[in-house]
Symmetry: C2
Subunit: 343 residues, 2 copies
């Protein structure tokens, strides 16, 4: 990734504070002439391009955090938001939320809107379209303006920033291993047709668990579903053929639909078909039978993301010259919540 020079880097190079750089670039007379001219010359040499509004508001800390998430109906994102709110409120920060609707354009527009002085930093999960396009310029831009970003769940290696993820591969591995431990041999993976990075990792974990246990990896048992409406038809055909005796579904809507389809066909869950879902939501808890899930620990993820962002903001706020840009990626542990849909 090619990086433009940031306010922060200018400050570091010239051994002055960020506000000194900011004020010098606005030609503020608060800064002595020598420093001012040095900063301006340096910025010009490195072709520094500020966002004017953000620059002028640089020193007006809003004590607000912006969240950008793909959707709101998804229970997982609700729990992450609750986790962020807890830590933010404890630390005197407000939270504003924008939805990208899994659209690249909406993600860009929302970030631009919030970056213009409404918030101090972002916590975000990428839209599907952004991941598909691989275009992250809008995120690079806000980071280059000195606005910290923490990514969670749907992240990218192309952006250097703090990240909070779960080990999707290990989580999928654990789920599939538990099905194998219970004697299941034909385990289907029911997943989405999309470009979300986590889907790939879950598939890898599924495959590794099978191979480690000497079971065949059969491409036909990876069932890609367009949406919940087509789920029932696809699943019902495969169930008729008795193609599998266990299912690992990447979300709970697929899992509950599979259980309903199996019940209609007279199959018993878990006797004839064991089911595990990714994401521990309210459907899994309240369906009959209740569904064994891999908990994504959304609240913990939100807690951690907020903590990372606020620490970075407070470090900036103290104009801590020693603040490093060694970004970290926190891996939140998942765990299997056993319920009635497995043995």
């Amino acid at each position: 990734m090619k990086r433009k020079i940031t306010l922060k880097q200018i400050a570091k190079e010239l051994d002055v504070s960020i506000s000194t750089v900011s004020k010098s670039l606005r030609n503020s007379l608060e800064i002595g002439e020598e420093t001012r001219l040095k900063v301006q010359a340096f910025a010009k040499f490195y072709n520094y391009k500020p966002n004017n509004i953000a620059l002028s508001l640089k020193n007006r800390k809003t004590k607000s955090i912006g969240i950008i998430i793909p959707e709101i109906v998804h229970y997982f994102f609700s729990t992450v938001i609750n986790g962020i709110e807890q830590v933010a409120n404890e630390n005197g920060y407000s939270v504003v939320i924008c939805l990208s609707d899994d659209s690249f354009d909406k993600e860009v527009l929302n970030m631009e809107m919030l970056a213009n002085g409404s918030i101090d930093g972002f916590i975000m999960s990428l839209s599907k379209e952004t991941q598909y396009k691989g275009d992250f310029h809008h995120i690079t831009e806000v980071i280059n303006q000195g606005m910290p970003v923490v990514m969670f769940d749907r992240v990218t290696n192309d952006i250097l920033c703090d990240k909070v993820i779960i080990d999707d591969k290990a989580a999928a591995y654990e789920a599939v291993q538990s099905l194998i431990d219970n004697g299941r041999k034909k385990i289907a993976l029911v997943t989405t047709v999309d470009y979300v990075s986590v889907g790939k990792l879950r598939t890898d974990g599924y495959e590794k668990a099978l191979l480690d246990n000497g079971l065949p990896f059969n491409e036909d048992l990876i069932i890609k579903i367009e949406d919940v409406d087509t789920c029932e038809i696809t699943i019902s055909e495969l169930l008729h053929a008795r193609a599998f005796d266990a299912v690992f579904a990447v979300n709970e809507l697929f899992a509950v639909t599979i259980i309903k389809t199996a019940s209609k066909m007279g199959l018993k869950v878990p006797e004839d078909l064991a089911v595990i879902a990714f994401t521990d939501g309210i459907i899994s808890k309240y369906s009959t039978p209740s569904i064994t899930t891999v908990s994504q620990s959304g609240e913990k993820m939100g807690n951690k993301a907020a903590k990372m962002l606020i620490e970075r903001l407070e470090a900036e706020h103290n104009d801590d010259e020693e603040e490093n840009e060694n970004y970290t990626t926190e891996v939140i542990e998942t765990h299997l919540i056993k319920r009635e849909s497995t043995d």
Copy 2:
């Protein structure tokens, strides 16, 4: 409600545009001296107190809408947000969301934060605590600054503004009537222990349906539940006593918990116990048996609220002097979605 004079009223009284008033109050030389002094004198006489930041930003339209809702895990609010986003995006508006967590203080802080130049107007549903306190000064303030507010679902008569509601009383009446039509005689109302206005209206509708059908209204059958955890215990005692043969629950979490409790006791739904829930969410759709619900039409509610707000914003934008302050309250129709939990 005692009203302070607003920018808009000053403009109307003096037959000038809102921006003329705004600029005059900032003593802008763009406005002729005579008008400027007249506006200032008028504002002083009526003790007009502007919010300075909002005033200075008055003419910087953000093309953003702020939503304040009590919580995000609630499916109903998610659907309202989706409805707002649709209409907002079609009209080139962005949407930012803040959660009050049903706390008065958070509601006030979030409104203050957003009113300071981030958005053009609000769509909001009151927090429980705000309804309990009956303190709406924060809403009056933003309205007095000339920032339109549309309330939905949890509204108050103490604020004059546009509102979108459902007829909670009629909706409850319809649900209870349908249970009576199916021969149920002992119908329980399972509700929350709180101060939300809609709870009262639903109870009224429940009572009216019973009395209109010559059935006794028995206070003991109004079951007030603290939270979902206590729901199971309370319900199980009453089911043992066979105190009722049908339930109208004010949310789907209560409804699904009641069904699970009844199943554990060997009771059949709907044969031994018919169940209807308020709010059509994913739990009702995917539970076994699926649950008959009163659809609150969240998406329609969101569509309507966004339409009302944008119309008011665009009217302001055109400095339409004829713009009236005749606020309207739109009533969105509900309907019963019949599923397996009733006959």
